[in-house]
Amino acid sequence: MERADLLLLAAAIAYVLALLHLIASLWGRGARFGTWRLALPLAVGFGAHTIWLVRAAIRFGHIPMISTQEVFALLAWAILVYYLLLQRARRRADVLGVFVLPIVVLFVLVALVSTGFTLLPHELEDVLRMPALPLHIGFMMLAYAGFLLAFLAALMYLLQERELKRKRFGLIYRYFPSLSTCETIGYRSLLLGFLMLTLGIGTGVILLHRSDPVFWRGDPIIVLALVTWLFYLIVVHYRLAAGWRGRRAALLLIVGFLATAATFVSARLFGHIL
């Protein structure tokens, strides 16, 4: 680990502290979430994380989203941005952190152990200089993070709904936000994610077209991305037009996220930089 990575390590530790506080308040007496004990580590961690990203960008002269390390650090950061935005927007949504923070911590840890900047294949160097690339990757990251949040909110919705239908109440009933809050978080994340995905695919198409006009046709990753986009389009459309909400919407968000995750993983596997 390089010295610069200490910032990332500090961020990970701060996130773990925030997570521990959340768990402790769930476990213990009369859970009280919105305290400085949560806000402080989150602020510190987010600050360190941001500084690390900025430093990486300066050091390598490009937006830090190429190497595995950078991608995971950036992804974790994007997830956290959503969480912080949504958490402030709705009261009692803090508990979302119990799901979000482990993922954030995991991604930061992956970033910490994975290699930093590696030399890129020569043919990519041109691509790297294109202004559309950082835009493309940034949009995709934000899209993934949005869909992840939507997925988590949908999961919480389903769990809370199950308790309410079964009429047997436990920790979930007590501490999870209301169905309406879960749904709102899910829907907002979905809309943001969808917007980002649209922009990401748009810039991606421009990018590929410029770098190699023929190369991209029939590329499975691009097909997968388009399928994902179409899927979310349908979800958004039917929600607005036909009132697909509640349980069904939650299930769709879960399916959609799994598809997105598949796109992401296969993109990395096939060596795409996205």
Binding site: R29, R90, L164, K165, K167, S178, S180, G243, W244, G246
Partner: protein, 439 residues
């Protein structure tokens, strides 16, 4: 300074007795001033709610036997009740309880935290004690002791509220309904409630919902007149039973409390309503017996159906949890009582220590004056040196003694029949004074 508490509550006296002893707000200032006579009682507070009438009092300066002081104070409170209330004492005397010192403190802490309430852990009592304290302050019947004691009761109650889950969940059928509505809709502002039928429980639930921010209320009844009558009462919109199926789509929360053996709300009604509602969730509360909402309605997606049994079971389970939490609350109270008794003893020992020092000074300077004639004329320097010498001797002797006295008072763990450290030293100093004045 002895603390006594005399009173009766919902456990010891029926409502007929409690209401006859209760004090109205207007009566309180005058009653408080009458209670505190400056002889048996130096400070007082009256807590009068629909579930209890309690008088908390503190006696004045410690005397040789606080045993007598507490008896005098209790007698004084009884006499006060006899004078103030035109109620034959035999009606309520048997219901009166009285607590002294540690037990009085514990009782006050438990009451304020809602541990002595009819509905365990209910929060209203906290505000009522606060009001009672504010009135006593305004009437000028709060002194050092109550000023130390009552705010402590507030912080204990707050600790209980934050560190246990005693007040977290609803324990009555109507408040459980509101809690469930919040778990579905979050904010009830702007939601529409449809009440079918009438009844005490239904009306109570409606009131609860209105208090939680529901703005729009529809009322549907078999008889149009009854619906309209209720509608005017609540400022709602009256509907006739025929339009109920089509009106379902307008409601977010439906409370069904109709009579009759036939279900009024059928599965197909709700299914159609859900389509029209575009699957926005619908919360159905069926508190009628026999049930008037078809049970299979609960299987529909985004529909949540609860009947009276469900609500009662939830309330019951929550109550169980409260009892469990109450045990933890009692531990917090126990700790707080011990801590308070220590600070009370420190407060009490203050005047004793002052008297102790004064006594030493009196003796020292008395002796100086007595022997002055043998000293001849002293220069101002000599005079100053002499006084300095006496002060030093007093300080060197008094300092460790005072420190020990402080500690002994704080850790005082006497048995009831023994004198407290404060009483003992008050006694010693008084005896000392008497014997020296006799000389």
């Amino acid at each position: 300074m002895t603390i006594v508490l005399v009173g009766l509550n919902h456990r010891t006296a029926p409502i007929e007795v409690r209401e006859r002893l209760a004090f109205t707000e207007e009566e309180l200032p005058d009653a408080l001033r009458r209670l505190v006579d400056g002889v048996a009682i130096a400070e007082g507070l009256i807590l009068s709610t629909c579930n209890r009438v309690e008088i908390l009092a503190a006696t004045g300066v410690p005397t040789r036997s606080s045993d007598r002081a507490e008896r005098a104070a209790i007698e004084r409170i009884r006499a006060f009740l006899r004078d103030q209330r035109q109620v034959p004492p035999n009606v309520y005397e048997a219901a009166l309880y009285h607590y002294v010192d540690r037990e009085a403190v514990r009782h006050l802490f438990r009451v304020t935290a809602g541990l002595d309430s009819l509905v365990l852990g209910e929060p209203q009592i906290f505000g009522q004690v606060k009001d009672a304290y504010a009135r006593a302050l305004a009437a000028g019947t709060v002194g050092k002791t109550l000023h130390l004691l009552v705010p402590r009761a507030f912080s204990v109650a707050k600790r209980v509220r934050t560190e246990t889950a005693i007040g977290e969940e609803a324990v009555s059928v109507s408040s459980v309904a509101v809690e469930l509505a919040r778990k579905i809709f979050d904010d009830l502002q702007g939601r529409t409630v449809l009440l079918v039928g009438a009844g005490k429980m239904a009306e109570l639930t409606v009131r609860h919902l209105l208090a939680s921010g529901v703005r729009h209320l529809l009322i549907c009844n078999r008889t149009r007149e009854r619906a309209e009558q209720l509608a005017t009462q609540f400022g709602a919109e009256a509907l006739s039973l025929e339009v109920l199926p089509t009106s379902l789509a307008r409601a977010d929360i439906l409370i069904c409390s109709a009579g009759g053996t036939e279900p009024i709300v059928r599965r197909e009604h709700v299914a159609a309503a859900m389509l029209a509602r575009r699957n926005r969730p619908l919360f159905l509360i069926d508190i009628s017996v026999p049930r008037t909402v078809e049970p299979s309605v609960g299987q529909l997606a985004n529909v949540f159906l609860y009947d009276i049994d469900d609500l009662e079971q939830i309330a019951h389970a929550h109550m169980e949890r409260r009892r469990h939490e109450a045990a933890r609350a009692e531990m917090i109270v126990d700790q707080a009582v011990e801590a308070f008794m220590k600070s009370l003893r420190s407060l009490e020992i203050g005047p004793v220590i002052a008297a102790f020092r004064r006594r030493l000074e009196e003796i020292a300077y008395g002796e100086l004056e007595r022997h002055r004639r043998y000293l001849g004329t002293l220069t101002p320097e000599q005079e100053r040196a002499l006084r300095h010498l006496l002060e030093s001797i007093i300080n060197k002797f008094a300092h460790p003694a005072i420190a020990r006295l402080h500690q002994a008072a704080r850790d005082d763990a006497r048995r009831p029949e023994e004198l407290s450290v404060v009483e003992l030293w008050t006694d010693i100093l008084e005896t000392q004074e008497r014997s020296s004045s006799r000389e």
